[in-house]
């Protein structure tokens, strides 16, 4: 999860969420950084509206409605 926190920090400070920045934050936290995970994070967030993603509850019970319907 530390990779996600790194992205959240950069999002708050308004810095770009790119591989260099994410890596720098992780290293400062003592993480033995895996570049592939950094890459994956940056790629996953590319087309995501972070504010919206943060506010949308990641609740699994989406299926609940379908079953009810």
């Amino acid at each position: 999860m530390e990779y996600v926190y790194a992205a959240l920090m950069l999002n708050e400070t308004g810095e770009e969420i790119n591989e260099d920045n994410v890596t720098a934050v992780l290293e400062a936290a003592g993480v033995d950084v895996e570049q592939s995970r950094v890459k994956a994070l940056v790629a996953a967030l590319e087309d995501v509206d972070i504010e919206e993603a943060i506010d949308t509850a990641a609740a699994a019970p989406a299926a609940g409605g379908a079953a009810g319907g």
Partner: protein
């Protein structure tokens, strides 16, 4: 301070005072954070215990206020700002620990104590609702006189509602001191009272030092929720969220399958249930028993 200044000072104040000031300066300079604590009303034995409890995290140094002020001014570097808090019965406190942590530690070590007539209420004094356990007698009148809602019920004197009998800053009367003593109410908190701390360039006052741990806990929760949401909604799996992500994907597939009535073995039981629910819902809209199967006739 230059050597010539030191000599000049030595000439203006007695030698023992200068030595005391020098010791205070050494004390101040040996800690990363220095503060002023109020020590009024602390019995000397309790003070001894407090100093012992602080051993290893903070040190208390008492002196005359004039010498304390002088030492603070001599060190300078913003520490002079502490002099305005040096009044009454105070002492210096020094720590290399976190000043917020020190404040919490000192607050936690405070103990309740009775308040005497003539003292000023440090906070609103409240006589709580409840049975005083005192037999009917003149005490009910004394309670009413100091402003408590009291009457005799079931053979004893009861306070019928929480009653604020003195507000912060007001002086305690003889009558009130007696009543509080009779009830065993100890409205004061006695202990080292941190008035201000100077730490690495910043002067903190108590309202800045009082941290709301619950608020931080809530922040941790929202931060954790934010990370979870982002991880799941951006489909970036982590050890903490991989399970949720899988469940979400399964949920989505189920939703689509049920919505589109896809004849998938895993979905068919739910589809059957869905159809049953629909037919029952429709039947419920039909008023005419004649049109309904026997099991649904009202």
């Amino acid at each position: 301070m230059s050597e010539s200044e030191r000599i000049r000072r030595t000439e203006t104040i007695p030698q023992w005072k200068q030595e005391e000031v020098d010791e205070l300066v050494d004390f101040i300079e040996s800690y990363a954070s220095v503060g002023i604590v109020g020590v009024a009303g602390i019995p000397s034995r309790q003070l001894q215990n407090m100093r012992r409890d602080l051993h290893g995290s903070a040190e208390v140094r008492m002196s005359r206020n004039t010498l304390t002020r002088r030492a603070l001014e001599d060190v300078g570097d913003g520490l002079g700002g502490l002099t305005e808090f040096v009044s009454g019965q105070v002492a210096l406190i020094g720590t290399n620990d976190n000043p917020f942590g020190l404040y919490q530690q000192l607050e936690a070590s405070k103990t309740p104590a009775p308040i005497n007539a003539g003292e000023v209420a440090p906070n609103d004094i409240v006589i709580p609702e409840g049975d005083t356990g005192i037999d009917p007698g003149p005490f009910v009148g004394e309670l009413q006189q100091v402003g408590a809602e009291a009457r005799i019920m079931d053979g004893s004197i009861k306070v019928t509602a929480d009653s604020t009998v003195l507000e912060t800053g007001e002086e305690v009367s003889d009558e009130l001191a007696n009543v509080l003593g009779e009830l065993g109410i100890e409205p004061k908190e006695v202990g080292l009272d941190l008035r201000s701390v100077y730490s690495e360039g910043i002067l903190f006052e108590p309202d800045e030092l009082a941290i709301d741990v619950d608020e931080y806990r809530a922040d941790v929760q929202s931060a954790a929720a934010a990370a979870r949401n982002l991880s799941v909604n951006a489909a970036y799996p982590t050890a903490r969220t991989a399970g949720t992500l899988l469940a979400k994907a399964v949920g989505e597939a189920k939703s689509v399958g049920l919505f589109a009535a896809i004849e998938d073995p895993e979905l068919v039981p739910d589809l059957v249930a869905k159809a049953d629910g629909q037919v029952r819902a429709l039947a419920a809209q039909i008023d005419d028993d004649e049109a309904l199967p026997e099991e649904l006739r009202g």
